[in-house]
Amino acid sequence: MEAREKAVTTEPLQEDPSRVLVHDLRNLIAVIVQYCELIPDETGDPDAVKADIQEIRTAAERALVLIEKIPRPAKQPS
C-alpha cells in the first residue's frame, strides 16, 4: 500500500509538456510499427491491409504535426 501511494504521489498531475510530447510521439511510432507488423498476416484480406495502411498514414501525419511543436534551437548567425 505504501509503495503504491508513493508511486501515485511521485507522479505529477500536470506532466512536463516536453515529456508529454515525447510520450505522444513514441505512442504514434508504436502505432505505426504495430500496424506494419499486422499487415503480413492479412495478405489474404486486401480491405484489412488498406485499413492498416490508412492507420499508418494517419499516425505518421499526426507525428509530423507533433514534430512541428518541438522547440528548435535558434539559427546561428552566419
Binding site: A7, V8, H23, N27, A30, V31, Y35
Partner: protein, 333 residues
Amino acid sequence: MTVTRDPGTASDRPHSAFTHRDIALVVDDDDQVLRLVKRVLERAGFECVTVSDGRRAHEAAVKWRPDIILLDLMLGETTGDQIMAELREDFRTRLIPVVFLTVRDSLKDKVEHLLSGADDYVTKPFIPEELVARLRAVMTRSTTTRGLNPLTGMSGNADILREISRRLANNQRFAVLYPDIDAFKSYNDHYGFLRGDDVIKTLATIILEVLEANHSGHHFAGHVGGDDFVILTEPSMAENIAEEITKRFDQAIPALYDPLDRERGWIESEERSGNILRTPLVSVSIGIVIAEAGSYGSPAAVAARASEVKGVAKRMPGSKWVLDRRRPPERFS
C-alpha cells in the same frame, strides 16, 4: 468519454450467459491506440470496452465489471497510477487485475509500477501474441491466488482477513455485518446443491446491489464460504443496509421454490425416524457489530463477536438483523 458501447448494468455484461468472452477495459487517451488494442484483443476472443477519458475509467469499470483492465500511464488530466489507486479503493473494482500498457519502457518505471500493485507491465509497441498471453496469465493468476470465492467471485477469506486487519491497524471505527441463510441445509437437501447455489448467488447479488445503492467509499463485501458472508461498512449505514438486504431477500426467495412449496410456505422432508418435518422458506439472519476504534485486537475477535450476534438473530424466525448494543469490549485479543 468514448465508451464504444453503451455501458450496461452488471447483470447485462455482454458475456454473462451468452458469449462467455472475457471483457477487457482499455484506457488510453489516443484513439488510434485504442482501435489497435481493441482489434488485437477482439481477434484473441476478448470483448473489448475502450475509454479515452481517463477520468471516466473508474466509472466504466464499475459498470462493465471487466475481467482485466489495461491502463496507459499518461492520460492527459489524470494518470494510470491515479486510476489504479481509485480502482483499488473501491470494493467493486479492487480485485480486477490491472496491466499497464505504455511506451514508457525504463526499468525504473517497470519496477516501480509492479511494486505498486500492477499485475503486469507491457510496453508499446507490443507483440500481439505476447500481450494476449500475458493478459491470460494475469487473469488466471488473479482468480487462483487472490482466493476469490469461485461461486460468487467475491473476496474470499484471505482478502476479508486482510481488510479487517487493515481497518483495525488504522484504528478505524467500522461496522461488521455477518449475514447467514436460515434453513439452508433443508433447502439443499430437498432441491439439491445446484439449486442451493442459486440461493447463495441470490444473496451475493442482493448484497452487492444494496451496497451499490447506498454508496460509500468504506464498503467491503466478502464471501466466507457456504452461506456465510461478511460486509464491512460505515457504522451509520449498517442498520439501513441490513434492513434492505433482509427485505430484498424475502422478496426474491419465493421464486426459487417449486409452486406447491411456494404456495404453502414450507418444504416437507422425512426424518430417518419417519417423522415428517416442515421447514419454512429460507430467510436471512444478520448480526451487526460496531468495531469501535481500538476495541478489538484481532480480526478473529471481531469475527467471534459478529458470529455471536448472528447466533442471536438466528434464534428468531424469519429474516431479521440484530445490532450488538452491548458495551464494546475493553480490548479483545
